[in-house]
């Protein structure tokens, strides 16, 4: 690896100054002359036929812009993968909070009251709310069987393994929905001009997703749709597909009224109406040898997609590919299924199916350890994937990854062996009493996992992302990408890469605003792909600039920033502009079969071992994470502070997923859609999250970087639940585990009566 001058250094975040001074402009900080406010009238029932819409007499409705499905100039759908989700319900509704009608008015306070004055009469129909109900097909609400998508991964001969197995271990594991809970709610402004078409500014991850959706909805050609990302206050997947919906709504109102329209959700609307992590159920049946080696197994992974297909097929895909964890399976059959229920569609959330299937895998691994009689560390060590072996999709591990070594280091960093022994002793003989008097029991839990970087299989080939780099007359460089910044550090890391490739100071490089009129489609900002896939293209395009200038003879191989400036100026004076583009090309010899789900699922994987130390207070039954070690191999760390920040933030969300964040459903509607009753971790709830990196594999990405964004979401929940089981000896197969859930499980285990009053 050649020496780098900016890669690996924690340079200041590009847009950081604006963020710490309050100057950064988010969507709700913007307004346009003559702007109206828009709002959405939504379904109050989970399923039924719309019989009548009536408008209360207390308002003069001529003051309002009113849009229904009849006003849609194009196709009434949110174009994404399939086109099954309507932009506005037409005749029937399939989930609570489904948009039916739009209103706009100049006074947002009046608007709020007007929403309540629109009365909708329904003929309700029976609805279904769980995976089990959906599978029973008592009501068919989607297609012929409520199934959005199925996948099958088959390797070896699973049916032959049971006969010779020394142990067969079965288990079923479930995970709940989780709200992304970005602190900035969804919002957009749309304006319409007959000549220019639609322009949308918004809080969003994927400008070209919105672009595609608006073309179909508004029946406009590509050049008459412009999408611009405003500063975006967190996303985590929650602003991957939903912005197409809210942008569609604002655009319809803007087209009808001829005035700009802003729609910004309040917290309740954002939480109850927009997407969440898919609830899941995973069934494992595993055959093991006497020594605890996996001989083979069956994994059935099922997710609840909500009322429309949206992204469920892709979430399912990532879920099943990660379902086998970082282990070697000589024989395996993995079935994936995404089913429909009458809830708002579930969508993208950091990890994208992998946190669900890996929770199951890593809980199951502890179960296997118990049955076989090995320690949680040893059972994992005996089954880790090694270089040269193949994954469940028969992808050969080519990088020099040593998971055993990673595990050793994580155990050492967390003081695992000593603590585990000490806690076991204390839990049995004399647990310390907590503040309310009941005993506190402690435990240690491990999770080992992997996360694939970039789009799955042939995904990157289909995307064929394009990146531009522009040299300006003043010697500065602009990166042209649709890849967006929403906290992860896109702006900073891509500028580091370009500066490194051009041998320029970091300050010379800037990133253009993600505006579909200005930047090429570098793909969506999802799937842990930006640093690795887009970063590689930025590097190529930057090298292209360098080659253009050296080829023209205006620059030598080694140059100062001043010489670079002079060369740019000369080139632009002669040719008008200096731009270089790079398009993704799939590496030679990469095999992926979309039909059989076999081959190179990802260009590379990040690897990790997380260790949680947990204390459970048997007065309150609350579990608290007291120490957390997050050790990972993510290739070259481009920016240590950003990378650590990504990991710590993901771990915090994972702790929330495990212990705090429970979506309470009633008839398909979230009942706790506020920050007062949906609880995410505060600074007082979290342990020190100790983040460590190991740089082992350096095969992929610009300067050897792999994807990092989603990885830290995968490990915390299983590590924590494994630790709770270690502390209490009670089996837990689900997340989230709030105190009442732990209490119930412990009661069922016949232990509560001994501890609840502390007397016996």
């Amino acid at each position: 690896m050649p020496e780098t001058h900016i890669i690996g250094k924690s340079v200041p975040r590009k847009e950081g100054r604006d963020k710490v001074t309050g100057a950064a402009r988010y969507i709700d900080d913007m307004s346009l002359p003559g702007m109206l406010y828009g709002a959405t009238v939504r379904s109050q029932i989970p399923r039924g036929v719309i019989k009548k819409i009536s408008f209360g007499s207390q308002f003069d409705w001529s003051e309002f812009v009113i849009v229904t499905a009849n006003d849609i100039p194009g196709k009434n759908c949110i174009a994404l993968i399939g086109d099954d989700q309507p932009c506005l319900a037409e005749g029937k509704v399939n989930h609570p909070e489904e948009p039916i009608l739009l209103l706009a008015h100049a006074d947002r306070h009046v608007l709020r009251k007007a929403i309540d004055a629109v009365a909708i009469e329904y003929e309700p129909m029976p609805a279904i709310f769980t995976i089990d109900e959906s599978e029973r097909c008592s009501q068919v609400i989607w297609g012929t069987d409520n199934v959005f998508k199925t996948f099958l991964i088959a390797k070896g001969d699973v049916d032959s393994v049971w006969e010779n197995a020394s142990y067969i271990v079965e288990g079923e594991y479930t995970t709940g929905a989780q709200e992304q809970l970005y602190i900035e709610n969804n919002g957009v402004i749309a304006s319409f001009d007959r000549e220019l078409g639609i322009t949308v500014w918004g809080s969003l991850q994927c400008p070209y997703y919105v672009h595609k959706a608006l073309m179909a909805l508004c029946n406009l050609p590509a050049e008459k749709v412009r999408v611009v990302q405003a500063e975006t206050g967190g996303a985590f997947g929650g602003k991957e597909d939903y912005p197409s919906m809210i942008a569609g709504h604002a655009s319809l109102l803007a087209m009808k009224s001829g005035r700009p329209v802003k729609i910004v959700y309040d917290r309740l609307e954002d939480m109850t109406a927009t997407t969440k992590r898919h609830p899941s159920r995973t069934h494992h049946r595993t055959a093991l040898s006497k020594e605890g080696e996996i001989l083979g197994g069956e994994i059935n992974f099922t997710i609840d997609g909500g009322a429309y297909a949206t992204l469920s097929s892709v979430v399912l895909s990532r879920g099943i590919i990660h379902a086998g964890g970082p282990y070697y399976w000589p024989n395996v059959r993995i079935r994936g299924k995404a089913v429909a229920t009458n809830a708002p569609p579930h969508g993208a959330f950091r990890g994208f199916g992998a946190p669900q299937s890996l929770f199951a895998m890593e809980r199951h691994m502890d179960r296997i350890a118990q049955v076989v009689g090995l320690s949680p560390a040893e059972i994992r060590r005996r089954n880790f994937l090694k270089p040269g072996q193949t994954t469940t999709t028969e992808q050969t591990i080519r990088e020099e990854i040593d998971l055993g070594k990673l595990l050793d280091r994580a155990l050492e960093l967390s003081d695992y062996p000593a603590k585990k022994a000490r806690f076991a002793r204390q839990n049995d003989t004399g647990p310390v009493n907590g503040p309310i008097g009941g005993p506190i029991k402690r435990g240690m839990g491990i999770a080992a996992f992997l996360h694939g970087a970039g789009f799955t299989g042939s995904g990157e080939r289909y995307l064929a992302s394009v990146v531009g780099v522009e040299g300006c007359a003043d010697g500065t460089v602009r990166i042209l990408v649709s890849s967006t910044e929403f906290g992860q550090g896109t702006n900073t890391v891509l500028c580091q890469i370009a500066a490194e490739a051009l041998d320029l100071p970091y300050d010379y490089v800037a990133i253009a605003q993600a505006d579909t009129n200005q930047v090429p489609n570098s793909g969506p900002t999802v799937a842990s792909r930006t640093a690795m896939v887009v970063g590689t293209l930025v590097r190529s395009a930057a090298i292209g600039i360098r080659q253009t200038l050296t080829g023209a003879g205006s620059l030598t191989d080694s140059y100062s920033p001043e010489e670079f400036r002079a060369a740019c100026r000369l080139h632009i004076a002669k040719r008008g502009e200096l731009r270089s583009y790079a398009r993704y090309e799939a590496p030679e010899g990469v095999f992926w079969d979309d039909e059989k789900y076999r081959g190179e699922a990802y260009a590379t994987f990040a690897w990790a071992i997380y260790v949680a130390e947990v204390a459970v207070d048997l007065s309150t039954y609350s579990a608290r994470v007291e120490d957390f070690v997050a050790l990972q191999e993510v290739g070259k760390v481009l920016h240590p502070i950003l990378a650590k920040g990504q990991i710590a933030g993901g771990v915090a969300q994972g702790i929330g997923f495990a212990l705090y964040e429970k979506v309470v459903w009633q008839n398909g509607r979230m009942q706790n859609g506020q920050m007062t009753n949906y609880i995410m971790p505060t600074s007082a709830d979290l342990p020190q999250i100790r983040v460590f990196f190991e740089e082992m594999g350096k095969l992929h990405g610009a300067y050897g970087a792999k994807g990092i964004g989603e990885l830290p979401m995968d490990g915390p929940a299983p590590a924590i639940v494994n630790a709770i089981e270690d502390a209490l000896g009670t089996r837990f197969d689900t997340v989230p585990l709030l105190p009442e859930d732990i209490f119930e499980a412990v009661c069922a285990d016949g232990m509560a009566d001994r501890t609840i009053d502390g007397k016996r």
């Binding site: 950081g16 001074t21 309050g22 100057a23 602190i183 992860q488 650590k644 933030g649 007062t676």
Partner: protein, 164 residues
Amino acid sequence: MTNTSENRVKCELALTVNGKTETVRVYPMERLLDVLRQELGLTGTKEGCGEGECGSCAVLMSGKLINSCLVPVLQAAGANLTTIEGLAQGPQLSALQAAFLECGGAQCGICTPGMILASCHLLDKKPKPTLDDIREGLSGNLCRCTGYMQIFDAVMEAARRSPA
């Protein structure tokens, strides 16, 4: 949510924000948050939840940390208000702003103004806080990106650099 259209009578109030006194014509029960953002154009103060839970709208009111989504503007008349826009001296960032920038305390940035003002409030009370003081002092401000660790680093760093 305070509904301003109910009270159709506006009044004139003098608000002192970041050392400058301005007169605004507003409904007395309007949220301070809305007046700061819409009447005074101080959009650095953010709305996250509208119910006092997330702290994104936190500002200092005569030295106290308040959630401006819960305070009717009438109550702020006569007080000294500090918003995020009032911390830097021209191009010179305050010690906390600089430390947030350097230590990774801001990711998406939406909680950052409130978080920095909560940190200001904490350091006013405890110039050399312990880690537990910081955890406690910032527990009314939610951040979904950072997991708080680099925010703690930033506050520690700012405290280390301040004379006291």
